[in-house]
């Protein structure tokens, strides 16, 4: 079995991964700035903390948002956000 770290958007429908990290981009210094802090904090608050299991149910067509299952609830997650969440999948 091979472990890989990929963005959440790389998961196929029905696949499950474990959150490794959220990449806020722009390197350390800028990443801590307002918008990014909010972005990361928001994801964490919705339960996407490192170590959490996430299942991608499906994604809306034309690069639309993802429907994910996390901590027993169903979330709609914009693609831009999903691209920054890195997960580990077992295949």
């Amino acid at each position: 079995m091979e472990k890989r770290e990929v963005p959440l958007t790389a998961l196929k429908d029905g696949e499950t991964g474990i959150v490794i990290s959220v990449k806020t981009g722009h390197g350390r210094g800028r990443g801590r700035r307002r918008g990014m802090w909010g972005f990361e904090k928001r994801l964490m608050d919705m339960g996407l903390t490192p170590g959490t299991k996430v299942t991608v149910v499906k994604s809306a067509p034309f690069h639309g948002p993802l429907e994910i299952l996390v901590r027993g609830s169903r979330l709609a997650l914009g693609r831009g956000m999903a691209e920054r969440i890195f997960v580990e999948i077992e295949r």
């Binding site: 919705m46 339960g47 809306a60 429907e67 914009g78």
Partner: protein, 645 residues
Amino acid sequence: MAKKKLLIALAGNANVGKSVIFNHLTGLHQHIGNWPGKTVEKAEGTLHFKGYTIDIIDLPGIYSLSTYSLEELISRKYIAVEKPDVVINVVDASVLERNLYFTLQLMELETPMVIALNQMDMAKRKGIQIDVEKLEKLLGIPVIPTVAIKGVGIFQLLEKAVEVVEKGQAAKYVSVKYGEEVEERIAKLTKMVEEVQFWYPPRYVAIKLLEGDEEIEREIKKLNPQIVSTAKKLASEIEKLHGHSCSTVITSERYEIAGCIAREAQKLVSPIKPKLGESLHNITTHKIMGYPIMAFVLLLIFYSIFTFGGYLSDLLNNLFYGWEPNFLSLFGTEIVGKLVWSVLEGIIAGVTIALPYIVPFYIILYFLEDSGYLSRIAFLMDNVMHKMGLHGKAFIPLILGYGCNVPACLGCRIMETQRERLLAAFATTLVPCAARTVIILGLVGKYLGIQWALTLYIFDLAVIFILGRLAFKALPGEPTALIMEMSDYRWPHIKTVLKQTWFRLTEFIKIAFPLIIVGSLAIKLAEILGLLEPIAMMLSPITVAWLGLPAITGITLIFGVLRKELTLVMLATLFGTTNFAEILSPIQMVVFTLVAMFYIPCIATIAALTKEFGWKKALYITIFEIIFAIGLGGIAFRILTLLTF
């Protein structure tokens, strides 16, 4: 004996049935307004219970108590500063873990609380059994199971809340304990914070400082900057130890605690009912099927509302205008009579929009929202809205705009940031509301054919999209992405739906009516003083030379500021005919309709914009739309003339 007063706050995630509980508790004694100076809703109500007069505040539905959104900031400040006697935390039993995450944060605010474990029926259906006593013990907080939609447990909840106030409870709390490395640093920081006076509890401040909370950092810096720098140092230590940012570490641990409690208190068995809601969810969010279903639902809504609304609107109009002769004979046809009548006309205008269009529209929308369908629409439309710098949720006020722009502007409150609210509101003012639909269908649709009317609608969508996109590029700031819970489908609580509609209606009346009436008066006065003709002449370089319209349309466009379909009504009055084909060429019809669609938000919408964003921004939007519409109309006139030459 003076009555004893109590203050109870309702807090919890979105879609957990908080407002249903609020309605059960307060009945008709409610007041919905805004938080002072904020575009966030504040619902208050009063009830009498066991000799107490109890004020109830329904705090916004949120997932956290950080500074991500205005709602979160307002809620936590309210709890800390106003210090309600007890907070009722409404928890969705079917999504226990996520809800407990919020509960833990309330506990950190050290407020007295009671938990309403709501939607027990849904949890049961999903195969989740919750041991209430165990949950109580794990949290150290009284837990009352409720099924708010059926009124189950509401009385017990209130009883328990009062009991908590009478006997006190906060001390019995099980306190939220993080991992050792974190706890150590929290303790160190708490000691420092204890020395300054602040409205949040010291331990809470310490935790939030470690999480990098901006509001608290700013405030504490004023009191003692050293605390903040120590917090930064401690936070980076934690970051080094764990390899994640300190705020992530703390949030993770908090979720871990919530998860542990949830797992201990609940037992998963196989679901009882066949999952009707599940299949409904799958089909309404389906990659292919989702869109036709959405289109069908929306078209059905529009069709039924416009058929029903148009009928009712005509009925009301005829009824009211039937009174005109009686009225004028009473007050005379002199200036006074005319002025009083114009006031009444303003009221009539408001009523014939509000009752037939806004009320049914709201009922249906709230029904769809409470059932959960609107969040599915937001999911489907996220992609498109992103092109305008907005996310899926913004589609909802846009739909509202087709009924009336006023509630649509107010509906932009569902967006998270002020920037997005403004962007969404700007877009909604371009949506052809019921009044504009009257013009489009009554002029272009009737005389040129429905295909031309449809073309105009599609053109309007394109305009909304393009201008929305430009505004998004022009306004500084980063777009936020969609992150939204799609809670399970359920049958809405009809009383709550009706009550929400009722409050929206009163809100509309409060905002729109005064201005419509004043506007009617002003125009009537201008008419009596014989100012309309000179104004039309003054406008003729624009109306005649640039737009190619008859000069008299200048007058009708002035009336249209009050209420857009008046442009058409006045056209008929001034020309003395309702056969517009006699007075306007096909090109003029198209140009006139185009201008009428965009030329200005009506006066009520301007009022709504002012209320939400201040008069400056309202003025900018208004001026922009005037210039835009005139420019567009003139260009359309020239292109159409060329094409048909």
